[in-house]
Point group: C2
């Protein structure tokens, strides 16, 4: 099993038993979502911006408008932090103190590499698209030269990364076990509701199976 090296930044300090450093576990968490939060610093001020991503092999890909503050900043080769968080339940203990959240999260540190070659860029956009909705890319009109020029695409390697996972039921103090308080877990799940077709949708276009059968990642 591929291990990712543990560094001072990625080592889980609070509740270290929740720390996970093997590549397969990290990838599984990343593959169950498509929205990350990217942290970057301009003049000592941190910014945290949500964006979509796709994962392939040992890289995360993300994109945006070429003129966006974040993507312009990433060209300066400064260190960033990419965090993915899957919230999976509310842990209800007998004491307020032992309440918790069940979650699986990944934190990645590194520098973002810009992808400029049009073929590689298009491939990266396909990876992002397929992460959000597998099967969609084949159906749609692909990016043209003008659209590619308006889009910046970056990747970050899963070199310095760690995961943190909390699962299972509440852990209460022995003294509290006799209290008449309901305890357990309220699991949360993100689901798709009925698709809403575009008002201008042409007649006789049926809904693709990959939309009908969508299972949310995360």
């Amino acid at each position: 099993m591929k291990k990712i090296s543990i560094t001072e930044k990625t080592k889980v300090k609070r509740l270290p038993k929740r720390g996970i450093y093997d590549f397969e576990s990290i990838v599984k968490i990343l593959d169950d979502s498509f929205v990350c939060h990217i942290g970057f610093v301009i003049d000592d001020q941190p910014f945290v911006i949500p964006t979509c991503y796709g994962r392939k092999k040992d890289k995360i890909y993300f994109h945006g408008y070429v003129g966006s503050r974040m993507l312009r900043h990433l060209k300066t080769d400064s260190g960033i932090c990419v965090t993915v968080t899957n919230v999976e339940g509310i842990v209800l203990a007998r004491s307020a103190f032992h309440h918790s959240i069940n979650y699986r999260s990944v934190v990645i540190f590194g520098k973002a590499d810009e992808i400029t070659d049009p073929v590689e860029k298009t491939n990266a956009l396909k990876i992002i698209s397929e992460q959000i909705l597998t099967g969609r890319w084949n159906d749609v009109r692909k990016p043209n030269e003008k659209e590619l020029k308006q889009t910046s695409v970056f990747s970050i390697k899963l070199d310095e990364a760690s995961a943190k996972v909390r699962e299972g039921g509440p852990v209460d103090e022995d003294n509290d076990m006799g209290l008449n308080i309901w305890a357990g877990v309220l699991p949360l799940e993100t689901v798709a509701k009925l698709p809403v077709k575009d008002k201008a949708l042409k007649k006789d276009i049926s809904m693709p199976e990959y939309i009908k059968e969508y299972k949310k990642r995360g």
Copy 2:
């Protein structure tokens, strides 16, 4: 309507029509979630850590273990960024380029103020608890002195904040409207699944209504 002043940091630059700066709209988005991502900087390196929060009046409250890296760092009075993102749907356009995500997000900049008074601290913990699961606080065993000492609680004011919202269907190029491609929105929603009771739950404790009738914020 209370307006929050627009600063260079909070001004929405990319797609400015998506920018929202009034207090009520920002609060509505914050009240529909309970997980934020906090960005902070140590030695030029950004960190992005997910955590729970509660909102009351013009403040966000969050807490954690007193020894955690993040909370220890917040005592240094450095600038942070708190981001809340509610993902609400996948926008399926006819071209890859015009695919998008429907979302409502808030970004807050500022410094975190530590709350040390035990009564204020307990009130802040109640605000966080009630944001996660309204009705829970009344039922549970409240924090004792030892537990309060193990917990750091911070607030951040909604002084420098903005929201960004994308809603509605796809916006395609005129040239693409004739393509035989299904277009529309796949709405996403986070829902509660059946609660799982603790294995050690005493008999004859019925599940409270606020758990049965839980509606996820966000």
